[in-house]
Symmetry: C2
Subunit: 210 residues, 2 copies
DNA sequence: ATCGGGTAAGTTACCAGTGGGTCACCCGAT
DNA sequence: ATCGGGTGACCCACTGGTAACTTACCCGAT
């Protein structure tokens, strides 16, 4: 068996590797359902190394959460700045999300884990990313509600939640069908949106996966 | 401190009480994040009594899952048999769901716990209820896709998932806004569906919460 | 009426395994 | 020779699970 001694892996690289495996595992089994021993075994290292780098189980989870949250919120916010609206903006967002999450769809699920610790640090971070996504979603939804002359803030909140959950559903579906390419997912999303909302004008969108 | 001896509570009643508390706790913290000691304390009884009645933690969870699954799947299936279609059927389903889940929205969340044990019994049960909901959802969706001349089974699968997740979003939103009445929720859902899908004809629907 | 036993409801005390977390120590490259 | 990467062995709190015991109620026989 491998004794002690370095394996020539730099800290930054090792941290990324651990974060990747941990994120995947947390997303699949939930925070409470995941043991650090399992993560260590999966990464081919020992438990104390994880503590060396991340301090605690919660610290490790926090790091995973940051990575996932920044990735997803960043993509959505950047896409929103392009100034498209309605279903077209949604397709564009999904396109970017499918690109960014290719091979790491676990990031999305991490933001929806019901077993996260309830410590202030994690809660704050969680709320922060939830809020950023909600904000962007709310803008797209507000337009629709305004046209219908609906100014109820609770209606807006609920519709935003529903809207985000459609994204959630598509990403989750992708997780269950991992052989689908990002390209295929964008195409599928476009077909489905067309079915529900009527014809879309995609030609002018700067899609990654046309 | 309370000694041993009966407290005059009949078994059936006690079982319902335990199931209620356990379901709520499992839904909130996930299976893995829940300890039987906590449930026992919440119910004001001791741990062995739970084992007397449910055999094991998994058995308790299984019982919770059955109650939640039968309730939800039953409501959806019964509603589907009334023969309405499209958004009208959806509103009717939501109306019935809001009625059935009043004060126990945890039932919905229980079906989405990522930390459920992976034993055959639980997996089978889980898949069973998931399948029943998916089947009903797929029927509503199939109609829409047929009209758009889309016969891709994967598209149908993905759209069904998205569709169910809209329900999920509204129930989850309700969980986060527990002071809303079922009546208010039905009204809200109707407004939102109108905004998205255009005018609906609700007068002919046998709504519980008009 | 009441005594006594069977049974259902309930508890305390305990065990064994697991999982988070720590300590002292060990290699290998520069 | 030293410093960063890395580990085996351990601690302890907690959790699932069990055994043995206790108390209250119901009901038939006296």
């Amino acid at each position: 068996m491998a004794k002690a001694g370095t394996k020539g892996v730099a800290r930054a690289q090792r941290e990324r590797q651990i974060l990747d495996i941990a994120g995947r595992t947390f997303a699949e089994h939930g925070y409470a359902g995941t043991s650090l021993a399992a993560i260590a075994a999966d990464a081919g290292i020992s438990k104390p190394l994880i503590y060396n780098y991340f301090g605690s189980k919660e610290g490790l989870f926090s790091a995973c959460l940051t990575r996932a949250g920044e990735t997803i919120a960043g993509v959505i916010e950047n896409t929103a700045e392009l100034g498209h609206v309605g279903p077209e903006q949604a397709i564009l967002s999904l396109d970017r999300i499918f690109t960014a999450l290719h091979g790491q769809t676990w990031m999305w699920r991490l933001l929806h884990d019901p077993t996260t610790p309830t410590t202030p640090e994690i809660t704050v971070k969680h709320t922060h990313y939830q809020h950023r996504m909600h904000t962007v979603g709310a803008q797209g939804v507000a337009d629709m509600l305004r046209k219908a002359d609906n100014h109820d803030p609770l209606d807006a909140s609920a519709l935003t939640a529903a809207w985000i959950n459609v994204f959630d559903a598509l990403v989750t579906w992708w997780t269950d069908h991992p052989t689908e390419t990002p390209h295929a997912m964008t195409q599928r999303a476009a077909r489905l949106f067309t079915t529900v909302f009527g014809p879309l004008d995609l030609d002018q969108l700067p899609l990654n996966n046309r």
